[in-house]
């Protein structure tokens, strides 16, 4: 019986099994952003130690960065301190640092893959739950806490129980207007936000293989929202083509050798997973969420579940959630007026997402009364938007493009959705107050977000063409 791909990568990185405990896992890449790293650096200083392998650590600010006037000092003093602290810490500990106006800057989970820093077969961690994104490159990537960030700084290792393995197959072809984001929201709606807790997920099947690299990054990004430690996709030719020539990717002989190894990175035909689930691509339509966790999603043509379909222990949470959103059980969401639209985040801030958004708004106008924030995931994405002329299409339709960062996904900068306002957002979480205190979030794909932006109401994008 062959090992699963997850076993192959994980087991290769085990330094030792701790007696009656976890495994000591070697980490190839540590990413640090400004929010979850300062206390780890503080701990390192308190212990009086240096980073064990500083060359494997890459730092960049993304959560606090403003999405306008980045050449001016950050107005929010506390945000500025946090961003400056990362720069100082990176310098003190001798780490790679891509500061705010550095052309390599952007959201850490967008930058890693696009710069060739996240590669197949690697173990990758960051003090950020969306580190699962890098799994799209065929890596074992997962989010950790700040104490664990300090562990990796100190030793390039982490102590971790090996998760169980799960394979999720999406068979068949996705329909028109259905994106990787919809696949992920569909999976969460079936599995709930805890359905994959304790597991590492391998995504497979025709619909997954057909996804572009950007789509795969979106799918893997959302693994954590099903509770999974991480999610990944076996690397194929498409992965190698994406990586080739990128700045930090191996070159020349090293490249050939790397590809040779990467080609071995797949589960065997007879690999056995602790759990295996199969879904049909044709069952998935554009999705929207109606509640305050990402598992509370439905097809855009469907209605919010009736109260009697919810189990007894969950009723209080369900009613609290709908009460916060101002929705009723049984209600449809199409036609609901929208105040804000947010395109961006590590979930949907890549070039393909901007292409998709532009394809809907082209030749149309932004609806009056809708405020739209379009935030590229990195400067590289921003440059590509210009190179492809997408900026012109968006401007003609009444949209402006902002500067890169996490932005309204979690509203640590100034991009906060005001209390009570409804946002259709391509980000990853619709938790209470996530996009600003009192903000109400409907998660959706860039196509659904674009349809809302031009009609002013929640609209099925398939009806616009």
């Amino acid at each position: 019986m062959a090992n699963t791909l997850f076993d192959k990568i994980w087991d290769r990185h085990v330094v030792q099994h701790v007696e009656d405990g976890p495994e000591q896992l070697y980490i190839d890449r540590l990413y640090c952003h400004e929010v979850t790293s300062p206390q780890a650096f503080e701990g390192m200083r308190r212990r009086g130690i240096k980073c064990f392998r500083p060359e494997n650590i890459f730092c960049m600010p993304d959560h606090n960065t403003p999405t306008h006037d980045q050449d001016k000092p950050i107005e929010d003093e506390v945000s500025k301190t946090q961003v400056d602290t990362l720069a100082k810490n990176a310098e003190e500990f001798g780490l790679n640092h891509f500061g705010m106006l550095n052309p390599k800057n952007g959201i850490i989970h967008v930058v890693g893959p696009e710069r060739g820093l996240s590669l197949p077969g690697m173990t990758i961690v960051c003090g950020d739950s969306h580190t699962s994104t890098h799994g799209a490159m065929g890596a074992v990537a997962f989010g950790i806490g700040t104490s664990e960030v300090e562990m990796v700084m100190a030793s390039q290792c982490i102590l971790q129980q090996k998760p169980k393995s799960m394979r999720i197959n999406i068979e068949g072809k996705l329909g028109k207007g259905v994106t990787a984001k919809d696949v992920a929201l569909y999976l969460m709606s079936k599995l709930t936000t805890s359905g994959a807790t304790g597991y590492f997920v391998e995504y497979a099947g025709e619909a997954v293989r057909d996804l572009s690299m950007e789509g795969r990054l979106t799918l893997c990004n959302l693994s954590i929202e099903m509770g999974a430690r991480g999610g990944f996709i076996a690397p194929y030719e498409k992965t190698f083509e994406y990586i080739k020539g990128r700045e930090y990717a191996p070159k020349g002989e090293a490249w050939d050798k790397a590809v040779e190894y990467w080609k071995t990175l797949r589960s065997g035909d007879d690999s056995v997973f602790d759990k295996e689930l199969t879904f049909k691509a044709e069952d998935i339509e554009p999705m929207v969420t109606y509640g305050t966790n990402p598992g509370m999603g439905m097809g855009i043509s469907e209605s919010i579940p009736a109260l009697d379909s919810i189990d007894e222990a969950g009723k209080a949470s369900y009613l609290k959630s709908l009460g916060y959103m101002g929705f009723e059980p049984g209600q449809k969401l199409t036609g609901t007026p929208v105040d804000y639209v947010f395109l961006g985040a590590c979930t949907n801030g890549r070039i393909e997402d901007f292409r998709a958004f532009a394809s809907v708004v082209k030749g149309r106008r932004k609806a009056p009364g809708v405020t739209a924030w379009l935030v590229p995931g990195s400067w590289m994405v921003s440059e590509q938007i210009k190179a492809e002329g997408i900026d012109k299409v968006l401007e003609e339709a009444g949209f402006e493009i902002r500067q890169p960062g996490c932005s309204a996904c979690l509203a640590m900068n100034d991009d906060k959705i005001p209390a009570g306002k409804l946002a259709v957002s391509t980000s990853n979480r619709n938790f209470e107050g996530r996009q600003g205190p009192g903000a109400r979030t409907v998660l959706a794909s860039p196509l659904v977000a674009a349809a809302a932006a031009v009609t002013g109401v929640i609209t099925d994008p398939r009806e616009l063409n």
Partner: protein, 198 residues
């Protein structure tokens, strides 16, 4: 905070909601601190449930109800889902909780609690439902969490369950040791592993 963990006997604060995410435990706007000030995070634990939009106390929220207090937080299933922010564990510790009891924890948050000497205790759905009932009937209900014997006991009903924790982590908690101490001691093994890979 590093502290030795043994047996905790305390009244409980009940939070019978499911899927409590770390954005609720500590909202993102309180993550801008650059030091580990547990008291600051503790003051803002469940901030947006604890306070109204105008900054006044939300009297309906359990932390503001004088009937309930103690070192044990009892929460509905899938506690700590979402963001990996360790600030959530700092807030729980900073407020004064040393144990969180639930029927299910999100993975990252569970590790974060353990790394901050807060013990996540996983109990069955039945034990949890019964414990919520006991606390509702009598807020003075006491629970005993015995780490050496890995048992949790509802003193009101006498119900007791064994909970799981690996031997290594149990040793760390009982002796106030953390994983970084262990990893630093094992550097030679890490270097040997690196050499073997080359």
């Amino acid at each position: 905070m590093k502290q030795k963990f043994d047996i905790i006997t305390s009244t409980c604060v009940p939070l019978p909601l499911e899927n409590v995410d770390t954005d609720q435990i500590i909202p993102a706007r309180f993550l801008k601190a650059t030091t580990r000030e547990e008291s600051f995070f503790g003051e803002n634990l469940f901030r947006d449930w604890r306070y109204n939009a105008d900054g006044s106390l939300n009297k309906d929220f359990v932390l503001n109800n004088p009937k309930y207090s103690g070192e044990i937080l009892v929460a509905g299933k899938n506690f700590g889902s979402g963001s990996s922010r360790e600030h959530a564990a700092w807030a729980i510790a900073g407020y004064g909780f040393r144990v969180v009891i639930s029927s299910f924890f999100a993975d990252i948050h569970k590790n974060n609690e353990l790394n901050n000497f807060v013990l996540p205790v996983v109990v069955t759905e039945d034990f949890l439902a019964s414990l919520f009932d006991s606390i509702e009937n009598d807020p003075a209900t006491v629970v005993e969490v015995d780490l050496p014997n890995q048992t949790v006991t509802n003193k009101a009903t006498g119900e007791s369950e064994r909970f799981e924790i690996n031997g290594y982590k149990k040793y760390c908690l009982m002796n106030a040791l953390d994983d970084i101490d262990f990893l630093l001691e094992n550097k030679a093994k890490t270097e040997a592993w690196e050499d073997a890979r080359r």
